[in-house]
Structure formats: structure tokens, C-alpha cells
Symmetry: C2
């Protein structure tokens, strides 16, 4: 059976985004430093970790604040995501929101579907869309937290950047009695990559 995984970068002090996220600074102050391994890989382990981020995936789930700028309320229909007209997903993406919106078809095979009836429903739709392929919980931190707490994630790929952010959005809180088994650890000067299997 296909699995549900997430790939997420955190600082050494546990933050998946820096403080003061905004339209200009969607990852928060210093947040882009979490992703150096991805944009300027320093070794094979970074390259391999990056390949895996999109490998074998048939659908994605993301939180509203990953799709759009911080804030809530009715949709500004002119907002089409952070990624331009050809987002990197090339697959259906289910966006968690409280506000309905028509599906948004982009170039390259990415369609954003807006799901208003909760994380289980979004995952069910993503599984159906993915077929034999895996589903990724793409982020942000609070969305990953919700799936972890609900026991719906099978595998977490954690990329620990050697960076202290000192504040921001923590990944691993409110996740209940989560049990994880490390299955692989590799590293470069830019990050340590650990794959955890969630133990049920």
C-alpha cells in the first residue's frame, strides 16, 4: 500500500519556520536558512534528500498558510500560490481551508483542490488521486502536526539544519505520544537528514 510521508526542514532548536512570517517573508525571519541543503547542496546526502522530496508521489496535502500568505477569511481569487503558473508538484494538491473555492488548474499537471471538511477527508481524496503512489503532507508545521497527532503519517523525513532560529513555529509539539523509529541518518555540512518511520 502506498504510504503517507512528509519531508520537512527544522532548525536545530526545533523550528520549521522563523518568527514573523509575512507576505514578504513566508518562512519567517531566517527561515530560508533551513533550506540551504536543498538550494545549495553540499554533498550527495543533500542531493538524495532533495530527489526524494518529489519522488514517487501522486498527490499532496498542504495547509492554507502554505498555499497562501498568512491570514484567513474569504479567498482573494487572484491568489494562485507562491510558485507561479507551473508549481513543482505536477499532481493534485489538496489545500486545507475553512473557505470553499473552485479547483485551480495550473500548468504542468498541478491542480489545487480546496478541502473544507477536515484533514481525514483531504487525505482520503489525496489517496484516491495518488493511486499506487505515495501521498505527501507538504506542510506547514501545523498541518504536519495535525497528521502526526492523528496517527495518519507513515514516514517523516526530517532535515535538521545547523541553524538556531530562537523563535518561530515549532514542529514537534502537540503531537501526543508519537513513537518514531529512525531508519536512516545521513549528513552534510548543510543538514542532517533522518528518515523516521512512525510506530503504531
Amino acid at each position: 500500500m502506498s504510504s503517507v510521508r512528509c519531508h520537512i526542514a527544522i532548525s536545530l532548536d526545533g523550528y520549521a519556520a522563523g518568527p514573523n512570517q509575512s507576505m514578504e517573508d513566508p518562512l519567517g525571519e531566517g527561515g530560508e536558512r533551513l533550506h540551504t541543503w536543498m538550494f545549495e547542496p553540499t554533498g550527495d546526502a543533500d542531493v538524495r534528500a532533495r530527489e526524494r522530496v518529489l519522488e514517487g508521489l501522486g498527490a499532496f496535502v498542504m495547509g492554507r498558510n502554505m498555499f497562501g500568505p498568512p491570514g484567513s477569511g474569504d479567498w482573494d481569487e487572484s491568489w494562485r500560490g507562491w510558485w507561479g503558473e507551473d508549481p513543482p508538484y505536477h499532481a493534485p494538491v489538496f489545500v486545507l481551508t475553512n473557505y470553499p473555492r473552485e479547483p485551480l488548474e495550473m500548468d504542468g499537471g498541478t491542480t489545487f483542490h480546496f478541502v473544507t471538511d477536515g484533514i481525514e477527508s483531504a487525505l482520503e481524496q489525496a489517496r484516491a488521486a495518488a493511486g499506487d503512489q505515495d501521498v505527501a503532507i507538504a506542510g506547514g508545521a501545523s498541518t504536519v502536526q495535525q497528521y502526526l497527532a492523528a496517527g495518519l503519517l507513515d514516514e517523516m523525513h526530517l532535515h535538521i539544519a545547523p541553524v538556531i532560529l530562537g523563535g518561530g513555529e515549532r514542529l514537534l509539539e502537540n503531537v501526543g505520544d508519537l513513537r518514531l523509529a529512525p531508519v536512516e541518518a545521513t549528513g552534510t555540512p548543510a543538514a542532517t537528514h533522518i528518515i523516521y518511520r512512525v510506530v503504531r
Copy 2:
């Protein structure tokens, strides 16, 4: 020149000790789960990490709460540490405290020296005692934090246990703009071991 290092285990959510540390539970609730890799190693990486904890060290520095039970005030002179008459250090150990006490000589070459004039002084004395060998900042978390914040640590060996404690004493806060460079990452099912060099 000899270097100053620390070896410290943390949970995946960043705690070096669990909540409610006490005489009966010196590592706090669940805190012993951080050290499974050490007491029940599951692979070569655990064994190697454990060997390094005491390797090449000529002196140690520790906080009062690592030497004795939580609490402060004048010494109960009957307290001789957690480790029995032959502590595992086999070298001078400098204990940070506000309360003077005569040196305490134990079996096997361990002598506890009580230092009341601050972390720099303790490190200076430890360096002098260690000669060509390294000095370890043995813990606990707040002592390691102070040395990190003061820029006095050269190397941090972090052992990340696949455990969520949900509360307790965090390691990596109040450490200022700490810059770290990972130099090695290895792992087993029990822990991921990362060696960081502190960048000055």
C-alpha cells in the same frame, strides 16, 4: 590545543531532561529514554558514540544539579554524587556552585572540586588539570547553554533520541547566535549522533 566538548542527549522535541526532575527521577519523567543508545546500544554508531563520551578527556565541568539533586543552598556534606564511590570520570571534575565546599576525593581518580567564581574560572581550572587532553562540559542542559552562549565550547556531540518528551529542560535556548557546522552524522534505531563544530 586541547578542545572543549560536550556530549549530550536530547529528545526529538529538544529536551535534555524530562519534566519534574527530582531525587527519585534525576533526569525527569521519561528522561532515561534519552540514553537508551548508551545503555542498550543497537549498532556500531551507538557503541562508537559511547566510547567517545569519556575518550581523551582530562577533566570535566558540571553544574550543581548534575552533581547533586535539584535544589540549592548550603551543601549536605553527606552527598557524594549520584555515582557511588567510584564515579566514571576518573579525572578532576569541577562543579559549578554558589556554595563553597572542600574538594571531595573519590575512588578511581575522580576528585570533585567546587568552583564558586563562575564558568570561565571553572573552565580555566579544568584546562589546567587536563593538560594536553580535552575538557568535557558534562551537563546539565543549563550549564551547556551557558558555555555555548559564552562561546567557550569547541565541539558538541548531540545524540538525538527518537523520543517526544513534551516538556522538560530544553537544551538549545538562550544560546545567542550560535553557529554550528556538522562534521559527522551517524545513526541507529536508538539515536542519531551528530558531531557539531562551533563556528567562531
